[in-house]
Symmetry: D2
Subunit: 325 residues, 4 copies
């Protein structure tokens, strides 16, 4: 039997100013604080039933790991064997290291050098009175403009490693390529991959300084682009750094708004819309130089990527070293 | 020289549960608390520079007064003479009775029996740090879905008094009739009047039980109907009573959402859109029986007015007695 | 190997006034006309690459079939054997019967008596110049408020057949129960099933007159609830019959707007939002009597179902007889 | 008695490609064509009752005139005398020159060198069946995302002429300064003036090349910023040139979207929101260098004005010569 992933579960962030980061994710973005265990603060969106989708830990800006949920209770054991057979150094983490979840595997992906975690057991705690919403299919309250759920991560590696890094994700975890940027001449530069019907659960592109192991941003899904404009005004009132104001991507067709966690500098994309792929024989959509005009931004102020634009300066790090406890 | 009014200034509400009313206007609706002087709590919308547009005072549900701002510094004196010549009992109120405003006149309107206040001097206090927004043309912060400003009041009297009550407002204060409901046979039933280019600063209609002196609702203007839906979800999460869910009126073309202040039962309309009238020779738009279909609700779930529907049950009172301190 | 379904593909509608139905789906709803072959008119949404998601054929109001796409090229053959083993009368339809698609199977589902079609090959024609949009991941043009894609069907059978009809869909096609209504005492009344991460690709509930084989509505997905309000105004201007004005369902968390194809009386839901389910161990959300308040409509004007409300009068038929050519 | 203006009435545009301009205003923007008299095509927004708010005439890109409606039937005669006493060359234009309106005055404003028209009589033709909407307070149909009405004009002159040009408008027509940009040292650079409660019916700023008589843009008001995003997508699909993508101005608090009429190059602002001023003692809001950050764009991608940014290149001309027939 083949093991698989079912979704992006959470990002475990490290921030030098955990109070300011908490203020940002809770009071500006609208996530609910679920628990604090002394090591980490656990947050989730009001549309999420699981214990956490973002965690915060104090330390130099970085990413402990980005965690994917596996497709079944036996998949962790299968992956432990499979990934070690690939030569990876797989750490087994027992229930209790992170609150609200069970055993996990941690390892660094080859070529992209990203700190991955795989997990199956996720608690689904009911929110306390006062936070709990009325709907049984959600945890928190509607009507606040908060995100519904975590959506995807976007990472970077050196340009020559994009293709083999993507190949590893496809072969080991069943990610499918949905859209990609490949100039008429030359290798794939940017690829959008998913195990869900989303256009991407993870995107992989080239780092501006050709480093590996870079965390570009993670995204939180919102119900409507009007939520993104509300957040844009709120960001402005609170002097939050903005990288890209609300606009529509051509890739994925989604609305986006990129801003920075002021405690850590981590970039967050507030996301809305986007199409879904239910066909198993989907042909990946290719963008070339000519199409980049429409692909990066379809409607909205243009900006450059890969060329030193605001999206590439000071990209927060995803140092593998941050995995060590 | 003729005295005039320039706008609706504020509504002074009385509520038996001032804590719950404060929670509602501040935490659910999004108004900012400006001051509390022991007698009243003063609130304004983030788009308003003046000291208050809603005040709360403890007592049996009622309306102390609805206040209009006069058109110039001499208009209060002119109105004192003019209204007394009409036989009205005009009370002169000195600066200090209500915080943040100057001298005022109070009287009960004939036929409609409404507690009116006229005022000129209005303080424009800067909001404190942490509440103050970045824009110099606003007092509070954008990005919260809060209302921008008070918009209008809607009052009721006995059906035979609607026409003379309207006539008084037109003659004394320069209100203009903008739209009205008058069946093919019979007198005007409902009239929309303004001194501003709005379709109404005040509406006058018939009370279901044919009483005079009834306060039906006041309205707060929002930037977008997406703010109304946000509020609708929030109302549902917080078990706020709703009379009319978001819909578009034909009269005025505006989006509306009617809910109740849970502390007092006062009905509040969250309002968005609506057209403006800049032509001095505007011909009032007449609605007859035939047109009521489109007039009350153009798009949205229909409801009945004047016939015992949810909008007519338990209409909060605007007892003139409530004016007495 | 197990055969499976990957998504709802299209609904094949029969309408007594095909010109008026075409006007409705194209000029009011915003779908693009792809082809007309003398028998049927084929339409798709601008976000769909496949040849059609709605077809129109002249005749008494009914549904030729609702078509699901199978999960792979061999699944049609597998299903032909499997369904015949279940005792079903499976018709094999050769490429050419419906334009833009390959071989298909047709049969009537037991208990629900619904005309199903299964298909694999679907053409993906490029839209002609003037209709084609700029984005390679869509077929038509953005910026018109049109739906993005077909979303789900909602069907009815006699109340005692809801449970076995659901069981058949689960066992044969891998549908999963996502949410359901089951009173504290008594059987399941309404069930929301999907093969995709949507809350439903198909819903099954009780017919008000306890008949089998009823087609309640199909739904078209929109990017934003602002598209639903635009459509509500347009419906009103064009005297389109509306069953439910824009509101938010508690089931699925989605915004809805129900109106009628004026050519046929078929009910169409314009849909936006809704959550997705990526967890393989999702526990179906149960609604009981107590919860119906929040489930049917969370925010928006309430209406009754199953009790003769506007949603139940004149439900268009999905007579199996309509399958016969 | 003092004559006055009540509102901006229309802009009379000249375009070298009248077919393409008509397509733009009608099919992309959503205005309704009212009449064509061989010389001009007359358009209005669905929320406008008057005959026209934009007219198109064939010729080199320019502005015939921007027309304001006076405040009463005698004001034209008063202004003819008053403006001639100021030394202006006032042309009297008889009913019939422009369809749907009565006598008019035309003259060039001093310092700003703008072609002004004053008019009182404006026909209010009912739209023909098929175009006419259901609401008696509007002319056309809701639900298309079209603008509601014309909002303002924005013009430029040489920097040293901004102050005297503003002074002329204030003294002769009763415009009030609502907001303005004036550096700590130096004269006013940009001023926002209105006779209505809007923040501006006309704005006056410096031309990048220090010329007089420049027409920067005119604006059309929309109900919601979601209409602006719809238009942004549509502009992109149709390769319309965009100057500023949807964003929020700090001045006026309004949402904006600037695009170009492809037939003439005239810049059009799609506008939504914005606050209103009902207080006669409004203190103009001053912006200095420090505040320009928030004033030009509050939330949205920043751009430069007065410094050669996209808003200043190729500004369409408003040559006084264009007034001559």
């Amino acid at each position: 039997m083949t093991a698989s992933l079912c979704k992006l579960s959470h990002v475990a962030l490290v921030t030098p100013d955990i109070d300011r980061s908490l203020w940002f994710y809770r009071d500006i973005i609208g996530m609910d604080e679920v628990e604090s265990d002394g090591t980490r603060i656990y947050l989730r969106c009001p549309g999420e039933l699981q214990h956490h989708s973002v965690t915060l830990r104090e330390g130099p800006t970085g990413v402990e790991h980005m965690a994917f949920r596996v497709g079944g209770p036996d998949d962790l054991a299968t992956y432990a064997v499979q990934l070690r057979a690939e030569g990876l150094d797989v750490e087994e983490v027992a229930r209790g290291d992170e609150a609200g979840q069970g055993d996990a595997l941690r390892f660094t992906t080859p070529y992209s050098e990203l700190p991955f975690e795989l997990v199956w057991d996720l608690d689904k705690p009911l929110a306390p009175e006062g936070v709990r919403g009325k709907l049984p299919n959600a945890s928190g309250r509607f009507g606040r403009g908060a995100p519904r759920r975590i959506d995807h991560v976007n990472c970077q590696t050196s340009i020559e490693n994009v293709a083999p890094a993507e190949q590893f994700l496809i072969e080991q975890f069943g990610f499918k390529r949905r859209e990609y940027v490949q100039p008429t001449e030359g290798p794939v530069m940017l690829t959008f991959l998913s195990v869900t019907p989303q256009v991407h659960d993870i995107a992989l592109g080239p780092d501006g300084q050709n480093r590996t192991g870079r965390f570009h941003h993670f995204a939180l899904d919102h119900e409507s682009f009007s939520d993104l404009w509300r957040a844009a005004d709120l960001a402005r009132e609170n002097e939050i750094q903005v990288d890209v104001w609300p606009a529509r991507h051509g890739v994925g067709q989604s609305f986006c708004f990129y801003l920075r966690d002021p405690g850590s500098g981590h970039r967050v994309e507030l996301y809305s819309g986007g199409y879904v792929i239910y066909d198993p024989d989907w042909e990946p959509v290719r963008w070339t130089e000519h199409m980049l005009d429409y692909g990066v931004i379809f409607s909205g102020a243009p900006f450059t990527i890969g060329g030193g634009g605001p999206m590439d300066e000071n990209t927060p790090t995803a140092e593998p070293a941050a995995v060590a406890s």
